[in-house]
Subunit: 451 residues, 2 copies
Amino acid sequence: MSTINYSLSGMRDFNFLEVRKRNYIINIVTKLFELYGFSPLETPSMEKRNVLLGKYGDEGDKLIYQLLKSGDFLSKIKDLETKDYKEVSNLISDKALRYDLTIPFARYVVQNSQDITFPFKRYQIQKVWRADRPQKGRYREFTQCDVDVIGSSSLWSECDLINIFSDFFKNLGLTDITLKINNRKILEGIFDLLDIKSDFTTFCISLDKIEKSGKEYFYNFLDQQNCSKNQSELVTQLFELNLSNLEKLEYIESNFNNEKVKNGVVDLLFILDKIKSYQMDIKVDFSLARGIDYYTGSIFEVICNNNSIGSLGGGGRYDGLTKIFGKDLGSGVGISFGLERICVLLDELNLFPESVNKSLDVLFVNLGKKEANVSQEFVTILRKNGISSELYPDSVKLKKQMSYSNKKNIKYTAIIGEDELNSGKINLRNMKTGDQDLLGINELIQKIKNG
Amino acid sequence: MSTINYSLSGMRDFNFLEVRKRNYIINIVTKLFELYGFSPLETPSMEKRNVLLGKYGDEGDKLIYQLLKSGDFLSKIKDLETKDYKEVSNLISDKALRYDLTIPFARYVVQNSQDITFPFKRYQIQKVWRADRPQKGRYREFTQCDVDVIGSSSLWSECDLINIFSDFFKNLGLTDITLKINNRKILEGIFDLLDIKSDFTTFCISLDKIEKSGKEYFYNFLDQQNCSKNQSELVTQLFELNLSNLEKLEYIESNFNNEKVKNGVVDLLFILDKIKSYQMDIKVDFSLARGIDYYTGSIFEVICNNNSIGSLGGGGRYDGLTKIFGKDLGSGVGISFGLERICVLLDELNLFPESVNKSLDVLFVNLGKKEANVSQEFVTILRKNGISSELYPDSVKLKKQMSYSNKKNIKYTAIIGEDELNSGKINLRNMKTGDQDLLGINELIQKIKNG
């Protein structure tokens, strides 16, 4: 066998079982999106280079896959040797692969704003590419799944999105799910009250580190920012409140007297009131910040309790996302699903239904010309009845054909030999139990349809 | 509005209707593949550059999108100014985007041959990219849909693939479809009998031009190749035989005495015998060659009669495809579907079902806080019953909400006003007919479920 390695680091082939597992999840989430009134959108894999570059910070830019211009990309470049690689890439590349679904979505909405009916509710399930260092569970090509409402500031949208999360995990059979919820207005209010040097983004990034590094990490951050001990303690206490959601909101309102905090609390109260009936555990968590993202209101994150796999999804409300493309189309809110992680989790918990591993219903073995002719006629009848079926294409040793049937996890093997040619019946073997039956074609169809 | 053009030439956004139309076709073809015992495969969008380059001829190579290496791609390159763009691209790019699904499939099969059960039956529906000149119906990003059996030389596979074509077009409601069939062995036999200079590939390319340029084109080609007038006439006559399929096969066998021709005729006879019951018109066409493709046996092409859109699909049998990756895994046969053209054709012929344009079942208008609360409870109940539904998120003017409902082609609008709050009923308006009903929630569910 060839020993050349043809695989690209961080890229995956998906065999039939992996495709089916992924499609199982995608089908469930797609049906929910449609049920909730969202419609699909697909954008091209590539965007103009300048649509993507500069939108994800310096670190993000480094991870964007850029495409070489076609033809002689060097022909118009002068003094090549005096330029650094960034200048050169700007000259020899004019397209790049999608890094996420948000920027293409914003670009699409601005470009088509005159034809779109707002509030615009879209979902988008497509691949994205990042030239990141591959590691366990992190790939260079992966699928994102986003759903957004843009053009309305109504908190009813938040409620719908949370309900989608809840329905989704319920439909997958995933229990023990917690949705953490917070509001950027509350974080902004706290930030305003603190007399610290750092900017709001740094503040949010530090907050996000509490989960991994403990609340001491954040306390130290405040300390380094010359925050008073009193203030630091007051803020850090927010992350260890052993209170109900409503008590937490009362607590923060009375301890942080600020208009922004109040507005955030009002938002959270509305949402908690409307979704009170839901099974998924909802937990107000003032340490949730969602780092560098562009959120301005509600923020959410979903985790599986007692599992270290990390966030299974998240999202939040943003204002003015489309301004980067020259037009403000109003407030929006969206969530995304961590399909890759959800797939790993369902595998670990053995929650994929058996049907994902379902192969053919019936294989007809091939015992020679006459037998194959008759078998193929039965195959055709089965297919017309919606039963998946095939004739083994070659008349080789029965052992080889049975081995094919076993390896492919085929449920029934049908044998047409000389006896069956004469009787017009089919010898049907259940490959799991070993049971054999001699059946007419209609009996066979009934047997399979009855499971 | 911003006047910047963010669109990439040859690339398309698909709005909800376009996505649904494409998915309608993809669902039909996927179900058929499964019914016929094929399983899905997905490969990464990128391959190593040297997996793709050199596999599609010089013209193909030019159309392959190459990806710039990450980081400082210039750092290790010396004497940059002395190199031409092809040398440079080899140094600064190590990955490229998939050009078709065949080469990645061959690469996958060779890499995984020890885990694959042969004959291996896979289908693959993924995007491919070509830096081609965009024109009507030709895009730089488009979806290919391939289905192949590899590891068997049985002609039963050809029969299955032809039947898939037939079922597919029938399921779409496309009539007036012709499958042209030929065999490369016949063409090779004719080529061997002719005393001409050109190679077999050039011969095939010239044959393919008959459809566009007339049989004179091919006659002239033979003439330029110093083919005798007698021979040229004998061959060209093959393309105007007004005979049945079987008569055509008898004719060619008796006029072209050659082992390869005979073998090709035997193959065709087998296939024609097995698929005789089929609705799609099957036509033996000795001018069908399928140009530069790697076929060695049966070849097919599907067209819609009386429509100039061109080939809707095609394929054939190939030997030794996987040898390019160092391992011969046997004969294979496959077909592909021209999804983009089929989509255009269904649009032209108005054959998409109304359901692709289906939007929400029920929109609840938002007349204020109390009304919204009650409406959202109904929305939740409808969703639990599988009826897609939403509450308009903002309590804005009714006219605006009705306009939203109209523009989005929503079937029913539900109104909860003061009267309805008191009565517990829902005022349901059919947006097409204008009919209004006052219904309880269960009556409403029944009404919608009954259509």
